[in-house]
């Protein structure tokens, strides 16, 4: 038996990031703490740059790789590119000077002497960098996986580091650890569902590759109960990752408890990866079962929009508001999958690309609003921010308008594209629901703007820190992207339209 042929060039971007993650582990183990930070950041940024370069080189590839377990095609390349860009921006936030968001020693018990000692002596651990790189590599693998087992492995490579990273917060550590535990337990459940579903599908289709599943659906007519049961269970696993209702419950707690840079990273990267994988499954693998899954996804999409927008109104914590907003956006994104057309595919990719910038920018601003103890995410203390720091409030307003999908921001382009695709496919109900949900969503985004601008500041020690170059760069990039893709989206749209094809 010959050894399987591995296309190293096509897998290059993923392999580079993975290798850098492993190097990061070694650095953490063997390099003196004085040089760790600089080495870790250097490795991470270099790896992302190299991986992106390699991705650009292979941009016109469209074929299966690694014995058909991967599919490196236009869709995968767009998604991997998005993941790398958002991963880069997330890393910039994570690497912020002074490392204020992260606990010095994650293993220390909250409030214990050890923790104090680690903090005082400046024994800052930097394991968050290799963890982030592992998550990025998982996120790149996830939308390119062409096999249920590869998909599962990449899901775990993506998720496990995130569970840990959620618990690294320096401030309110108990909340952070609770978030990590919740995320882990629920994530484990969903993984189990996912695996269970894969087993059913394998039992019916006789293959774990997407091509095999696709073929067997065509041959069997897709009426097999086990296939449907398997797909239902698989859907649960995926919907958990994209935080669609009713599997969204972890989202607000995890978003709130995680260190904000991690939240930013997670919000953008996980969404891209999970929707990327979902779109490959629903469009490519089980596209033949559309009459079975479409009604369910429609119901879930509408429920997700409704829950996300309505509950967000009652939130008092800015990170929780943004978490519910992320849930609502999952509902909008699902309409792109429901469309099941080339337009839907384009629109979903455009939406993900625009959404990532806006959401990272939003969380980046959250990291700036602080008091003596750390970040202030209580909305009542954001009151009057417009008076105190007009620039920060103005940029935050731009991001919120982007999330609300107001014209001339990138959010509107994404929303327009995705609703048009859904309408074209005849699914007008989700469009109407989406429009109504957008109206409700506008309310809570605007509420924050009102708080920032139309109320007088209260002197309670809340202030905006001057960002270092890294956070400032992140915010600037995200703001420019939100604005430019809102005013002149054509280059991005045509690039995505021309790339986004599945390898047959």
């Amino acid at each position: 038996m010959n050894a399987p042929n591995i296309e190293y060039g096509m897998l290059g971007p993923i392999l580079i990031v993975l290798a850098a993650a492993l190097i990061g582990v070694l650095i953490e183990a063997f390099v003196s703490s004085r040089y760790r930070y600089i080495l870790q950041t250097g490795t991470a940024f270099a790896a992302i740059a190299l991986a992106f370069l390699q991705l650009v080189l292979i941009r016109n590839t469209s074929s299966k790789a690694a014995v058909s377990s991967m599919s490196i095609d236009g869709v995968a390349i767009v998604l991997q590119g998005s993941v790398l860009i958002f991963g880069f921006l997330g890393l910039l936030l994570i690497a912020e000077r002074g490392f204020q968001s992260f606990t010095a020693q994650a293993a220390a018990i909250p409030g214990s002497n050890e923790e104090q000692k680690a903090l005082v002596s400046g024994l800052q651990q930097t394991e968050v960098f290799p963890l982030t790189l592992f998550a990025i590599s998982g996120a790149m693998l996830f939308p390119a996986a062409n096999d249920l087992l590869t998909l599962f492995v990449s899901l775990e490579v993506l998720s496990l580091p995130l569970y840990l990273m959620a618990g690294l917060s320096q401030r309110r550590r108990l909340l952070s650890q609770e978030a990590a535990l919740k995320y882990f337990l629920l994530g484990a459940f969903s993984s189990a569902f996912f695996l269970f579903g894969s087993a059913f599908i394998y039992g019916q289709a006789g293959s774990t590759t997407f091509d095999g599943i696709r073929k067997s659906i065509v041959e069997s007519g897709g009426s097999d109960q086990f296939l449907l049961v398997g797909l239902a269970l698989l859907t649960v696993g995926l919907l958990f990752k994209v935080s669609a209702a009713p599997f969204h419950a972890w989202t607000p707690d995890v978003y709130q408890g995680s260190p904000t840079p991690v939240t930013a990273f997670m919000a953008a990267v996980t969404k891209v990866a999970a929707f990327g994988a979902a779109i490959r499954i629903y469009y490519f693998a089980v596209g033949g079962l559309v009459w079975s899954w479409r009604p369910i996804l429609i119901a879930i999409s509408i429920a997700t929009m409704a829950i996300g927008t309505v509950i967000a109104i009652a939130q008092k914590d800015v990170k929780r508001v943004l978490a519910y907003s992320a849930i609502a956006h999952s509902g909008f994104l699902l309409t792109g999958i429901i469309a099941l057309s080339k337009d839907g595919l384009n629109a979903t990719l455009i939406y993900l690309f625009t959404y990532g910038f806006t959401t990272i920018g939003t969380f980046a601003i959250v990291t700036l609003v602080r008091d003596s103890g750390g970040e202030v995410s209580d909305l009542n203390r954001w009151v009057g921010l417009g008076k105190r720091s007009p620039l920060v409030a103005g940029t935050f307003t731009l991001f919120l308008l982007g999330l609300a999908g107001i014209p001339l921001t990138s959010g509107f382009v994404g929303k327009f594209a995705i609703f048009t695709a859904a309408y074209k496919s005849g699914n007008i109900s989700v469009v109407v629901a989406g429009v109504l949900a957008s109206a409700i969503a506008a309310f809570f985004y605007i509420r924050i703007i009102v708080m920032m601008y139309f109320s007088d500041p209260v002197e309670d020690g809340t202030s905006v820190v001057i960002p270092s170059a890294m956070t400032a760069a992140t915010i600037a990039i995200c703001a420019v992207a939100t604005l430019v893709m809102g005013i002149y989206p054509q280059p991005v749209i045509s690039a995505i339209n021309s790339l986004a094809f599945f390898a047959g």
């Binding site: 327009f416 048009t420 109206a439 506008a442 605007i446 509420r447 601008y453 139309f454 002149y488 054509q490």
Partner: protein
């Protein structure tokens, strides 16, 4: 670049210059804003003279690809209706800036930002009326809300934040319904034409099945009815008008709300002729309700012994007037259409006069309550007489501009719907009441305590109100120049509707 683009860009450039001015240079900011807006107004008037009145269709057309992936163009053009509405905005803006010289000083933010926002708004208004691509129209329609939101919330009085949010949410909600309809139209155009488009002319050629047409019509109509504001979509208006500064109110009621009635003519009628005819009678009933509802509430403000609010009164009169406009639009006769369009212009000027003078009265008396005023005619004769003329125009006294338009609307409506026209005519009686009662209480009679030392209009105020009064009187006697521009556009709209028996009774 074409003239419309330049016209739209000028105020934007001006506002950018304002934002760049150093802190504290308030006077300079005001002068720059006034200068820019006067230049824009002159440029606009100059453009109007090269407008070909005999031609139908859009003029000053320009078209550039914007987002070819969606078939979206940056396409501008004006016909008679949109040209006049743009001119209304361009003329009123410098007047508002001059009239509200000190208005921004009590605001949350700096004075230069106030005038910067007004100039941005001017750009948006030019864009919204000139857009001939529905997507572009939608973009301006929504983007326009943001400067108004900050103008109300940042510089208003009383519950300004709440009023600003209410205004924004109502408008956004309507806008989103319209977005759904726009998407629907776009998809239908993709099915029927070689490529999907947002071009108004191309979209009006589509044949849409009746059910879809009704649904899409409603998406547009509700958005415009909220803007206009038509009963029962009006509830944001009194709050906004009460909270906004007089200058903002002038732009909001005088110009911005015309986007609603303009949109009904431009989009509802020309894109969905069948649905428009079907919903016509219903909308006429809503219009009649608006006429009376607005009038009654205005009378209630005027007669209230305690806290009848003068700004609220004017905003209620506007609801009544918008009722007349929609009545004229959906009566589908040439006269009623010309009248409705003329009404939009005249209402713009007479409301502007009312709000500006009311604003000066309020800032002098430090009260918005009608009952606090009395006998102003003795103390401040010029202010009182100006208010009187504006009020008379508002109740459509013959010889003042509103009379012509109201007359045309009612005569035109009578040709098709005699009974609604008669009912509408009764509305005029109430109009007389809601104007004459406050005029009598505030201006005539003995000067009540607190009003003895009020000062009359300053030179700046006289200069700013004089052109408005002049316009009201001039077009009252000689409306023909306006009608010459309006009539071809109105008959073009109606011929697109293919309505038979347009004039001369049943």
């Amino acid at each position: 670049m074409n003239s419309l683009t330049i016209l739209g860009l000028l105020p934007l450039v001006g506002s950018a210059a304002l934002f760049l001015l150093p802190k504290g240079s308030d006077l300079l900011a005001k002068q720059v804003a006034l200068g820019v807006s006067i230049v824009v107004a002159i440029a606009g008037l100059g453009m109007a003279f090269s407008f070909d009145r005999s031609a139908t269709g859009f003029q000053f057309v320009e078209k550039h690809q914007w987002i070819p992936a969606f078939g979206i163009n940056y396409a501008l053009g004006v016909d008679g209706i949109s040209l006049l509405l743009i001119l209304l905005a361009l003329v009123l803006t410098p007047i508002v800036i001059l009239a509200c010289w000190h208005e921004a000083e009590g605001g949350r933010w700096s004075v230069k930002n106030f005038f910067g926002l007004i100039l941005i708004l001017e750009t948006m208004i030019v864009g919204v009326f000139a857009a001939t691509d529905i997507f572009l129209f939608y973009v301006f329609f929504e983007a326009m809300l943001i400067p108004v939101y900050f103008l109300i919330g940042g510089y208003g009085t009383g519950a300004r934040a709440a009023a600003a949010v209410k205004f924004l949410l109502y408008s956004l909600f309507g806008g989103l319904l319209m977005l759904a309809s726009i998407i629907g139209l776009y998809v239908i155009s993709g099915n029927q034409l070689s490529a999907p488009t947002f071009d108004i002319n191309a979209l009006s050629q589509l044949s849409i099945d009746p059910v879809t047409q009704r649904i899409l019509f409603l998406g547009f109509f509700i958005a415009f009815a909220i803007k206009a504001p038509l009963w029962p979509f009006h509830t944001w208006l009194p709050d906004a008008a009460r909270a906004a500064t007089p200058g903002t109110s002038v732009l909001l009621l005088g110009v911005l709300d015309k986007v609603g009635t303009y949109g009904m003519i431009r989009f509802c009628l020309s894109l969905f002729p069948e649905a428009s005819k079907e919903f016509g009678p219903t909308i006429i009933v809503l219009s009649l309700i608006s006429i009376f509802y607005g009038a009654f509430l205005a009378i209630a403000q005027g007669t209230s012994s305690g806290d009848g609010n003068i700004k609220a009164l004017i905003s209620y009169t506007s609801i009544s007037h918008f009722g007349f406009i929609t009545l004229g639009i959906f009566a589908f006769t040439e006269q009623s259409h010309s009248g409705a369009t003329l009404y939009m212009i005249n209402h713009g000027f007479s409301t502007a006069a009312l709000f500006l003078i009311a604003g000066w009265m309020i800032s002098r008396r430090k009260s918005e309550r009608i009952s606090d005023f009395g006998g102003l005619q003795r103390v401040t004769p010029i202010m009182a007489w100006s208010f009187f003329i504006a009020g008379m125009s508002s109740l459509a006294l013959p010889g003042l501009s509103s009379f012509v338009s109201e007359f045309l609307v009612l005569v035109g409506t009578f040709a098709r719907y005699p009974i609604p026209a008669i009912i509408g005519t009764i509305g005029i009686i109430f109009a007389a009441l809601y104007i004459l009662i406050p005029v009598q209480r505030a201006l005539h009679g003995p000067t009540t305590p607190g009003n003895e030392n009020l000062t009359d209009l300053t030179l700046r105020e006289k200069v700013s109100i004089a052109p408005v009064i002049a316009v009201i009187i001039f077009f009252g006697f000689y409306p023909q120049p306006l009608l010459d521009v309006i009539n071809p556009a109105a008959s073009a709209t109606l011929s697109a509707l293919q309505i038979t028996g347009i004039t001369g009774g049943k």
